[in-house]
């Protein structure tokens, strides 16, 4: 999503007391951001339900509760900027502009899906919108993002690349190698760690020697910033700084978004590693959508009727998306080996 920034007078008028987000983006953009967060949540709820009903197979990793980081980061990116995503990548995909119909179609294994039914949830991508893809390999996308940033630097095309990954990913060697290279080559890349407290069942405290993932930024001589990952405003402000820095050729940054996933890790989670109370607290006290709605109302960007309209609109889009997916054709088994190699003239 290319957030539309206010210009000159409009920006000034709002005064310096407003948080960055509300100073920097116009109301329409902000309402659009809320809408996308709903779209992410409803998409995942829809996918979950379709899974329960046997319409989707395999597994999936839901990011419900983490919508603010996906949205807050992508708000600062243009359609030309690129991201690499993770196994928990639906939010990133939608925030970066993907069409939920084609996402559903992919989950349903249809030819109209983003990957023509070959990839599924774990490989959802939309390269036309700069999403280079979810990734089934934890930390697998981080070096790829650095490579994309190298292209950007070589081609001087002004693109910035964001690499999303989880707290668990920060213990992979790929994280270390990629951040080091991005730093020594001063590449236009922003590393965004969505720290939801657990890598599958393993808490950050049990898996990671430092308290905050951002504490590791110093080991790569880049700025490391911790933000409330459930606050769009906080995320967007940090994203803006990091993206500007990247865009100006000053090199990479690491942003750690503290957040939480409401659902189990995937479809096989007995949820033995965290308490009901913990989950409850995040859901009731720190929901990113509720929080954003409150702010938007407080700053007069939207009212309750406006919110209701968004909800209805999103519900329709989701229903239509599922319908599209259901109606779409299955791939032809005769095409099994298509797309292994590039067809050449």
């Amino acid at each position: 999503m290319a957030g539309k920034a206010k210009t000159g007078a409009a920006a000034k008028k709002d005064g310096a007391n407003l948080p960055f987000l509300y100073q920097h983006y116009d109301h329409e953009t902000l309402r659009g951001a809320l809408r996308k967060m709903y779209l992410i949540r409803r998409f995942e709820e829809g996918a979950e339900e379709s899974y329960m009903r046997g319409l989707i197979h395999g597994t999936m990793h839901l990011s419900i509760g983490q919508e603010a980081s996906a949205m807050g980061i992508c708000l600062g990116l243009t359609d030309d900027d690129q991201i690499t995503s993770t196994h928990r990548g639906h939010g990133h995909s939608i925030a970066k502009g993907a069409d939920v119909s084609r996402m559903f179609a992919e989950f349903f294994g249809k030819t109209t899906g983003y990957c023509r039914g070959r990839g599924g949830s774990m490989h959802i991508a939309d390269v036309t919108k700069g999403n280079l893809g979810a990734n089934g390999i934890v930390a697998g996308g981080i070096p790829i993002a650095v490579g994309a940033a190298l292209t950007a630097k070589k081609m001087k095309n002004g693109k910035v690349v964001v690499s999303f990954f989880g707290d668990g990913a920060n213990n992979e060697g790929a994280f270390h190698e990629a951040l080091n290279m991005a730093s020594i080559w001063k590449l236009p890349v922003v590393f965004v760690c969505e720290n939801n407290g657990y890598g599958m069942s393993t808490s950050v405290a049990r898996a990671t020697a430092v308290k905050n993932i951002a504490d590791r930024a110093a080991a790569y001589a880049m700025p490391g910033e911790i933000v409330d990952g459930n606050s769009v405003a906080d995320v967007a402000a940090a994203a803006h700084r990091a993206i500007e820095r990247a865009r100006n050729g000053e090199g990479p940054s690491l942003i750690e978004c503290k957040t939480y996933r409401y659902r189990g890790h995937s479809k096989s989670d007995r949820n033995r590693y965290r308490t009901k109370e913990e989950i409850e607290e995040w859901m009731t006290q720190r929901d990113p959508i509720e929080h954003f709605e409150e702010e938007l109302q407080e700053f007069g960007v939207i009212d309750l009727a406006g919110i209701e309209a968004i909800r209805e609109d999103v519900a329709k889009e989701i229903a239509a998306g599922i319908e599209f997916a259901k109606e779409s054709p299955m791939p032809d088994v005769a095409n099994l080996e298509k797309y292994v190699y590039t067809e050449q003239a």
């Binding site: 597994t59 249809k110 490989h123 089934g136 060697g173």
Partner: protein, 336 residues
């Protein structure tokens, strides 16, 4: 079949059989411990370790960070200094991250040091397709490790075998790699109680037959047996050999079978080209059994493609019973 007397047995799933083997190994030898991602309170991605952490504690059922290369290396270092780690990869696909430690270190250390050490590490690899998990969570990579001297590589196909072979692996002084097909985890079968071992390096004739030998691996053993039943109804008598061990390969059992049937088909899930069946075929084609062959050696392996997400495509990627029946029928035809 096994060295030990088998006592009472009962039905267990393949996953339960592995869990039981690990529990017995840990009870018998305090040097044995488990390492892996989410094998503790989570019970493992496929619930293979289950509640073992409650019984043996977090020192012996160790959750690792998501660090496959380092984790495998820690297991190697622990093994070489006197413990007996069993390291679980969450999916065999993640072996791609740890090949350095598996291949350059574990497999070669004894040799490079002129016999001064042994590396008694066991690594477990949940493998194979069929779960809708797509290209990065569905691979069958046993052929890679089978290509590496210094390793032993097994693919037990039944609950009985996986328990006995895992117990044999833990006692083996050398690194043993176990490929476990994920679709087998819920399969049930008779499993003897208590301790027993099934030898590494011995294939097993699962079904006697006169017309044609199918050498199959892992889950394909069961598909081959199903196919054999169908073919029996047509009067085609198939012998099914369960390879069980990729390295070292049991030449004798396969050669003997081919000598008897004069026809060989290899059925395996890994990518056909350079998969396990290539070795079985080549081994027979250069053996004394060559002279007994009445027909080309047929391979049914995985398609030359990554594993797709769509379930129909996914099924089409690996050999299925129908395909085995058809190929075996074609192959047997000339025989009568």
């Amino acid at each position: 079949m096994d060295a030990q007397v088998e006592t009472a047995s009962r039905e267990l799933s393949y996953a339960q059989a592995i869990q039981e083997a690990m529990a017995i190994a840990m009870e018998r030898d305090e040097r044995v411990f488990l390492m892996g991602e989410d094998i503790g309170v989570y019970g493992g991605a496929f619930q293979v370790t289950g509640d073992l952490v409650e019984r043996f504690g977090t020192d012996r059922v160790m959750d690792t960070p998501i660090s496959e290369l380092g984790g495998a290396g820690v297991a190697v270092g622990a093994a070489v200094t006197g413990t007996r780690p069993i390291f679980e990869f969450q999916f065999s696909d993640f072996a791609t991250l740890a090949m350095e430690q598996i291949v350059n270190q574990a497999a070669k250390m004894r040799y490079m040091l002129g016999g001064a050490v042994s590396v008694p590490v066991v690594m477990r690899f949940p493998a194979g397709s069929g779960t809708g998990a797509a290209a990065q969570h569905s691979q069958s990579l046993e052929a890679w490790l089978g290509h590496v001297p210094g390793l032993k590589v097994i693919q037990p196909a039944t609950p009985h075998d996986v328990k006995g072979m895992l117990l044999a692996a833990v006692e083996d002084p050398d690194p043993v790699m176990i490929f476990e097909h994920k679709l087998l985890y819920k399969m049930k079968g008779e499993v003897p109680e208590g301790y027993y071992t099934v030898p590494i390096g011995k294939a097993e004739v699962r079904r006697q037959g006169a017309d044609l030998t199918i050498v199959a691996t892992s889950i394909m053993v069961h598909k081959a047996l199903d196919a054999a039943e169908q073919l029996a109804a047509e009067g085609i008598d198939v012998e099914v050999v369960d390879l069980r061990t990729v390295r070292p390969m049991d030449r004798e059992t396969i050669i003997e079978s081919v000598r008897k049937t004069s026809r060989l088909m290899c059925v395996y899930e890994g990518v056909k080209t350079l998969g396990v069946g290539a070795e079985i075929s080549a081994m027979i084609a250069e053996s004394e059994a060559f002279d007994y062959l009445d027909a080309p050696i047929v391979r049914l392996g995985g398609a030359e493609t990554p594993i797709p997400y769509n379930p129909e495509l996914e099924k089409a990627t690996v050999p299925q019973v129908d395909g085995i029946v058809k190929a075996a029928r074609d192959l047997a035809k000339g025989a009568r």
